[in-house]
Amino acid sequence: MSEPIVEFRHITKRFPGIIANEDVSLSINKGEIFALLGENGAGKSTLMSMLFGMYEPDEGEIIIRGKRERIASPRYATQLSIGMVHQEFRLVSNYTVAENIILGLEPERKILGLFPSVDIKKANHDIAELSERYGLKINPEDVIENLNVASRQRVEILKMLYREAEILIFDEPTAVLTPQEIESFLKIVEGLRQGGKTIILITHKLNEIKAVADRCAILNRGKLVSILDVATTTTDEMARQMVGREISFTTPKEPAKFGEVVLNVEGLTVKGSAGLDAVKGVTFTIHSGEVFAVAGVSGNGQNELADSIAGLVQSSSGRITLNGQDITRASVRERINAGIAYIPEDRHNVGLVLDFTLRDNFPLRQYYIPKFSRKGVINEAAFDEHGKRLEAEFDIRSSNGMDTITREMSGGNQQKAIIAREVDMRTPLIIFMQPTRGLDAGAVMNIHKQIIAERDRGAAVLLISLDLDEIMDCADTIAVIYNGGINKIAPAGELTVDDIGLYMMGVGKTA
């Protein structure tokens, strides 16, 4: 049972400016569930990308089944029975499940014994059988774009199994799943292991490691910190080793002191990009000094809700009032002036002008006020001064100070810059949309502290997140959005994670 199937020996991988992996040696046994734990940028994904042939190591060697291999391409990795499910799924959206799985390895038949054509019937049949065998519920004839995230993930798993992969790598597999989906994913992983597969999980979620993994390697800044036996190690210990210092995962906060109603949303309906109603008659209020958190599975109208309050899209019916002022039909600029700050989900396309310098990105929402420009001519000195102050106040790190092109900054610092810009406007309402997506534990902690600080200053905070831990950590009031409607609103203390998970799936909805 414990013969090594994969061995990394003294692996080093450099990218321009950083060492992604430094002298990493570890071995993974056949039939185990092996977890790789570390913060963002710790080098987990790079290490596994080398196993899957996407990069080659600069130094060191990879041994597969006792034989030294040079894995130059994913295609060769597939030949070695290595499969990988990436964070972003690699699926053809307008193809069926079966078509996606057989792509590149299509079973053929001959029409009239002469013309080769793809045998889709056989494919459907084979895949139905395969999914049956591993308990992965899926209909081979469903089209990908109609499937939810959990089903798409099952398609990715089937893709590996169809190619007879023995070593299955999962990159952050549960980041986008609901608690219930995570549970069933972990069961699937168990099942795969019982089927004789070796499983490598890249994750930073300690509970999942504790639940299924046998052993766990911890990486920090590209170096291997330790390899732990999961059964005999506490999650606190894993966390300490992962971050390299003591860390608490909950943000300390005083009880909330609600003030006046700041935002009042009544019967808000917003059309999505497909022309259908994405937000359906939503009503809620947020008070000064309250963190109002909206939980939900991705794509249930969160984007449209945030955009319509910020003014990026117009609502088709309903009323939005801010401090008693009706802003339902107000333009984005009128809303900024009325007092709305917005940290959007899409940092790159909405949050920043990526090819502008840091200096020019800060006053993006205020450049027209007298402080920054007079008679249409911008005041560069004021830009510079403003930027330097924010840089210092919010601890934004960049290679070139105010002249840094924001495209070149790390995701964490880009997000810090956006938050700095928005928070500094000291508005009565501040909207955080997925503020910590893709950031590491340290950065997440900081942002959560800022959210609480904004609340304590007396702002009304609308926090929309897919991350339940984040919601549990920050919220005073929790609303669950499902299919465009708010399914439940309750004070944070009255809901458990499991409750929220059920509401996220539409349970309790009578419609």
Binding site: S93, L103, E108, S117
Partner: protein, 320 residues
């Protein structure tokens, strides 16, 4: 008159159609193809050159130059399209710019070569290769059917070739493994790559096919509309076929429907002018009809059309 509309309509619609299929291949694989216009012209140039060269050898009665002309138009269009493939796929150039460059280049190159080859090979100064109009075939029996019979009346041989090739192309795109991979490359090249498919090779072949099919179209126009090869062949039919494939939502059968509308609009308009006894100069007024129609149709019907997701995106393995 109805016969005339059907006969002329088809002989214009089918070359458009085969070119639109070429465009569908290229664009379904993810390569924007504005270069159809240039491909058809270059293909027709090579085809016409072969016809003119061979007609001296085989004599006027022989049909060999005619069919050889089509074979070489296919080869010529295909070879020329490889330049577009090279620029877009290998050198990752902007596909729109490359397409426009192809069109300008084809016009310039073939005008120049026609003139200089006429001078050096055939000893005249003409800026065209004279082909004469193609013969027409009337299929006995079928052509006797009232109204619909016109479809089989006075058919150019190339129309039959086009129908056969179109059927094969439909089968390749929707039934074979290559077709499935091609369409995958246009939607999500990363997933195709992850499935072990060579995205660059699939796309190059797709562009090559679009060049070959455009060559058939160009040669057909040269044999039917202009009766010679000259720079007059660049009348914008390539763009019209792009309109047809967009109107047809990047699918072969709806594109055929679009091409037929264009064809009948053109022949119907000419017939009306004829019927009214207006001078032939009015024909110039009718000529833009398919384009105007295209615009109107696209405005009203293209809302739900969806282009291939990765259309126009340069695929770079290293970037994710």
């Amino acid at each position: 008159m109805l016969d005339m509309i059907i006969i002329d309509g088809l002989s214009f619609a089918l070359p458009l159609f085969i070119m639109a299929i070429g465009g569908i291949f290229s664009e379904k694989s993810g390569v924007t193809n504005l270069a159809l216009e240039g491909f058809q012209g270059f293909g027709a140039f090579i085809g016409a050159l072969v016809v003119v060269s061979l007609s001296g050898v085989f004599g006027a009665a022989s049909r060999v130059p005619y069919y050889a002309g089509f074979v070489f138009a296919v080869i010529g269009g295909g070879m020329f399209s490889l330049l577009h493939a090279l620029l877009c796929i290998k050198f990752k150039a902007d596909q729109v710019i490359s397409g426009v460059v192809m069109n300008i280049l084809a016009l310039a190159l073939t005008s120049f070569l026609t003139k200089s080859l006429n001078t050096s090979l055939f000893g005249n100064n003409a800026n065209k290769f004279v082909l004469g109009a193609s013969e027409r075939i009337t299929i006995p029996g079928l052509s006797e059917i009232p109204v619909v019979g016109a479809v089989f009346k006075e058919v150019y041989p190339f129309e039959i070739i086009i129908v056969l090739v179109a059927v094969v192309m439909w089968y390749v795109l929707y039934k074979t493994a290559y077709g499935m991979r091609l369409r995958a490359c246009g939607d999500n090249p990363h997933s195709a790559d992850a499935a072990g498919i060579n995205v660059y090779r699939v796309r190059t072949l797709a562009v090559f096919i679009s060049g070959c099919l455009s060559g058939i179209a160009g040669m057909s126009f040269a044999y039917s509309i202009t009766a010679n090869f000259s720079p007059d062949i660049y009348l914008g039919y390539g763009y019209l076929s792009i309109a047809a494939l967009i109107f047809g939502n990047w699918s072969i059968l709806p594109a055929l429907f679009a091409c037929l509308i264009f064809g009948f609009a053109r022949s119907g308009g000419a017939a009306v002018i004829n019927q009214l006894g207006l001078p032939s100069a009015y024909n110039d007024l009718v000529r833009p009809l398919p384009y105007v129609l295209t615009l109107l149709l696209l405005v009203f019907f293209s809302k739900h059309n969806r282009s291939p997701k990765a259309l126009g995106q340069v695929y770079d393995k290293g970037r994710r």
